[in-house]
Symmetry: C2
Subunit: 230 residues, 2 copies
């Protein structure tokens, strides 16, 4: 499948690499392609600049948001919260229409330092804002509740954990479910929570996620819901 | 130990029963003792009125908020979010001073129907509000992220899950930890998240909790954090 990924950070890169390994054609989109490619050295997380990374991932293309939006039959929003609406606007409304848009973003505001707060929460969510802004896109919130390496390789953890789906379109959620299963997620561990408003719950899990990261001193963890045997 | 429990709902009753079974002296506090005892029939959850329940729990005393506050060496806030500050005010500032106050409340607002929203969230929490209002109480948030039956009997679930502690006073958190271990919680499953501001995380987990209740059609579940083996 042709997949367009908006965002070139660690989430975008990790998802792109996984999808490419699985045989999909992948184009990552960025705001300013030349500026992105001009970066050298390492980023804040000690990872190589994207231009270096692309040399090791030659099948993955880099384009503008608009080019990635046009390229993908399915789109992935891997931008950060503040970058999301500008990225989607650059991608272009027509490029979103009738497409599954997997939203991994979180409305985190780090501007006042750690821990971050949420700039949308409680009575609204980032996923709902995207769905309202682009009613003809099929927004499915997924994967935003964990680290990028766990997203694409859940078996890095010693036991099965959960991933949540939120979205209005059942067919779209089913497509995302299939993609997640190809990443290594078990069918029964993918929890369809319901319509897009249920994304309020999955996004508001981020404040405890960030604190647990501090407590465990590693981002390599995930939530598992344990239910009583019926 | 003498323990005062503010609130006579399902959480208050379940905690009171457990503590009494464990040999503690327990007094539950209510706003208006006569009005509480005058209720008959079943409540919204099909449970018997408190006057009936007390007949089966003869060791558990019923008092006013003030009486329960004075009685307890340790206090438990098992009121609902909107009832919390009025209950603590009735309990009396002097009765809270230097005492461990276990806060199980959640700032849930059901006034606009299901799902509820949070009336304090993101940049503040119920636990912080209580701690600010009563700086000489030793507030420890705990147990608010699960059903009352799981709180007092974690082994009802088929595998170990987690309970979170949030509070400024390490000695107080340690006392609460010991109580939780007497309920059946394993030492390693009790996660001390840090100071009272970390309660923002545990309180903001409620929106997904409520939705998962809807998804699973049972409240008998809990969160388990699965970490990569180090």
């Amino acid at each position: 499948m042709k997949i367009g990924i908006l965002g070139t950070g660690v989430v975008g890169q990790t998802i792109a690499e996984k999808l490419s390994q699985l045989g999909h054609q992948v184009m990552m989109g960025t705001r300013d392609k030349q500026a992105t490619l001009a970066k050298t050295g390492k980023d804040n997380f000690g990872r190589p600049a994207l231009s270096e990374w692309l040399k090791n991932n030659v099948k993955i293309q880099l384009g503008t948001f608009s080019e990635a939006g046009a390229f993908g039959e399915v789109l992935v929003n891997a931008t950060n919260g503040f970058g999301t609406l500008p990225a989607l606007e650059s991608a272009g409304k027509n490029n979103l229409t009738n497409k599954v848009l997997i939203d991994i973003s979180n409305p985190l505001d780090f501007s006042k330092g750690m821990p971050p707060t949420l700039f949308i929460s409680n009575t609204d969510s980032m996923a709902e804002l995207i769905q309202r802004t682009y009613p003809e896109a099929k927004v499915v919130k997924a994967l935003n509740t964990m680290n990028a390496y766990v997203m694409t390789n859940p078996k890095l953890l010693p036991e099965p954990t959960n991933v949540f789906l939120n979205g209005n379109d059942s067919v779209a959620k089913n497509e995302v479910k299939k993609l997640l299963m190809s990443f290594g997620w078990n069918d029964q561990d993918i929890i369809d929570m319901g319509d897009i408003t249920t994304a309020r719950g999955t996004e508001q899990i981020l404040p405890i996620w960030v604190r647990l990261w501090g407590t465990f001193q590693t981002p390599m963890f995930n939530f598992k819901i344990v239910t009583a045997k019926s």
